[in-house]
């Protein structure tokens, strides 16, 4: 495997892709997000329990490539316990990390290693949608 590819499929990303900690339904969810890419069929439902302007708990269910699955798992992990207003800026930071046209170097945007793991997506524009799929849904959630 070449270095470019190794960079995309970092251990961290693969670990999240294989980890089922955040997988499943949330029976007491107050909101759900649907993330779907009709071009490839990747599809996730993200279940949220929102109380007093914050995400108390979250889980996801669905199917997709390692990149989209890991990024969904990381989204879920990062938003649990967060106020909705802070989620908005978190999502903006992540989408900038993976944006190959961004003026900012990824490491100047965040020090969060889980988010930075996706910076290599900048080298694979065709996989950007995989990384952003669930985050785009979160950006548009209008809660």
């Amino acid at each position: 495997m070449n270095d470019k590819l190794k960079n995309l499929y970092k251990t961290q990303i693969l670990t999240y892709a294989k980890d089922s900690t955040y997988e499943g339904e949330l029976p007491y969810a107050t909101n759900t997000l649907e993330a779907y890419n009709p071009m490839c069929g990747d599809k996730y439902t993200i279940y949220l329990l929102i109380k007093e302007g914050a995400v108390i708990d979250a889980k996801f269910k669905g199917y997709g490539c390692a990149i989209s699955k890991a990024s969904t798992a990381i989204l879920v992990e990062k938003i649990i316990g967060k106020e909705l207003s802070k989620i908005e800026s978190l999502v903006a930071v992540f989408l900038d990390v993976i944006n190959e046209q961004s003026k900012h170097k990824p490491e100047t945007l965040t020090s969060d290693e889980a988010l930075l793991a996706f910076a290599a997506t900048r080298e694979f524009p065709e996989r950007k949608k995989c990384a952003s799929l669930s985050w785009d849904a979160a950006r548009n959630m209008n809660l």
Partner: protein
């Protein structure tokens, strides 16, 4: 037996390197084939040498353009064994051909309560137009199921056939699984209840010789770009009496004898159905593609690609963690597979970095993916320039991916 290595030299794309500096190994021939130099030269030769509109100009180069254009029509007639060149209508491709038959032939004849039959393995191009027609007219769209091997359930099809069935649209070869359908039998069965039949020959055109008279199908469609020809050009074959009875597929210039406010008299076949300026360069390119195929011999091409496909499947079937989908009676040089724990897009990204182009996705056949209970697959499809060594490299890469995601 043809030699892929010498054929390869005729395709300039293989002298390119991928962005990683590797040779291109191209296994996405079911999506589109690469183009030989002769096709590229024919297209640029038209633009550089005798560019003009066709049909009406009485000057050179219009005369030369028209005669080249019409000679390709005759070439296509022979290629598919139509009874007349009038039965060969040029269009933008398979999708365009199917939509035009739906609009111009089926819609005027379809009534509420009628039925249209497609199969579970159709490409969306041979599914959505019929679904649209049925929704519009209150007709019922039915789907012939597959059996476990991936073959069509012919008994189920027989049971569906009643006088209510007005139209049957079926692919000759599944673009996702490579399953070859017995279109002669299907056509005969459909005709027994008076239904008209359209055959989607997009994948078949490089598989075996098409003989529309032997098939007795009412319509048949294919694209040039899966036949080593250019994109944006395709062929609609239709039986003369059906094409004659149909209103123009597209209204525009070049299709009339005379026009007044009260009445328009249309030209005869095939011009009635080719409104507007055709993709002339595309037609010229299609002619060169047919020359290329005839030069190699369709049977030789079939033998070569089939050998690669069978070899790949035999090897893949021995590998734990890789599953080849379907085991049909007859398969064209296309196969779908899945790798345990690895999503097809991850697999194709891995192979892509090694210069190996395979297709991952639902292959525009979502009803089929539902049937197979997979969201998507990896597909390898073979062309005349592919070699055994390339197949080995692809299989080694698939094993590497399997190990990585295990």
């Amino acid at each position: 037996m043809i030699n892929p290595k010498t054929i390869r030299a005729q395709f300039p794309i293989f002298s390119q390197k991928t962005p990683n500096g590797l040779p291109l190994i191209y296994f996405d021939n079911a999506a589109t084939t690469q183009k030989p130099q002769s096709v590229i030269d024919a297209i640029s030769g038209f633009y550089a040498g005798y560019n003009s509109n066709v049909g009406r100009g009485t000057y050179w180069p219009a005369t030369e353009a028209t005669s080249s254009f019409e000679s390709v029509r005759a070439q296509v007639k022979d290629f598919i064994n139509a009874t007349s060149s009038k039965e060969v209508i040029f269009n933008a491709g398979t999708t365009d051909g199917i939509n035009k038959v739906m609009n111009s032939h089926l819609l005027p004849h379809l009534n509420a309560g009628d039925e249209v039959i497609v199969t579970e393995m159709e490409h969306h191009a041979n599914f959505l137009p019929w679904q649209h027609a049925c929704e519009l007219k209150g007709a019922k769209l039915r789907m012939v199921p597959l059996i476990d091997t991936g073959d069509l359930d012919y008994k189920a099809f027989e049971a569906m056939l009643t006088p209510k069935v007005k139209f049957v649209a079926v692919t000759a070869v599944s673009n996702a699984l490579g399953v070859v359908n017995d279109v002669v039998r299907l056509t005969k069965m459909a005709h027994a209840v008076g239904a008209k039949v359209l055959i989607d020959a997009a994948q078949w055109v490089t598989h075996k010789k098409i003989d529309v008279q032997a098939l007795d199908c009412d319509f048949l469609v294919f694209s040039a770009h899966k036949l080593y020809g250019p994109t944006g050009i395709g062929v609609l074959y239709g039986k003369t009496e059906l094409l004659d009875a149909m209103p123009p597929l597209a209204y525009g210039g070049g299709i009339v004898e005379s026009v007044t406010l009260e009445a328009t008299a249309f030209r005869g076949l095939p011009h009635k159905h080719e409104g507007g300026t055709s993709n002339i360069a595309g037609v010229i390119g299609l002619g060169a593609a047919i020359d290329f195929v005839n030069g190699l011999g369709l049977e030789n091409m079939h033998e070569s690609t089939q050998l690669l496909c069978n070899y790949a499947i035999e090897k893949l079937n021995l590998i734990d963690g890789i599953t080849v989908l379907g085991a049909p009676k007859e398969r064209a040089a296309v196969t779908s597979l899945t790798v345990d724990n690895a999503h097809p897009h991850d697999v194709s990204a891995f192979l892509g970095e090694k210069g190996i182009a395979i297709r991952a996705g639902h292959h525009c056949a979502q009803p089929l993916m539902d049937k197979l209970q997979v969201p998507s697959t990896c597909r390898l499809s073979f062309g005349v320039y592919n070699t055994i060594e390339e197949v080995d490299q692809a299989i080694d890469a698939l094993i590497e991916v399997r190990n990585f995601f295990a």
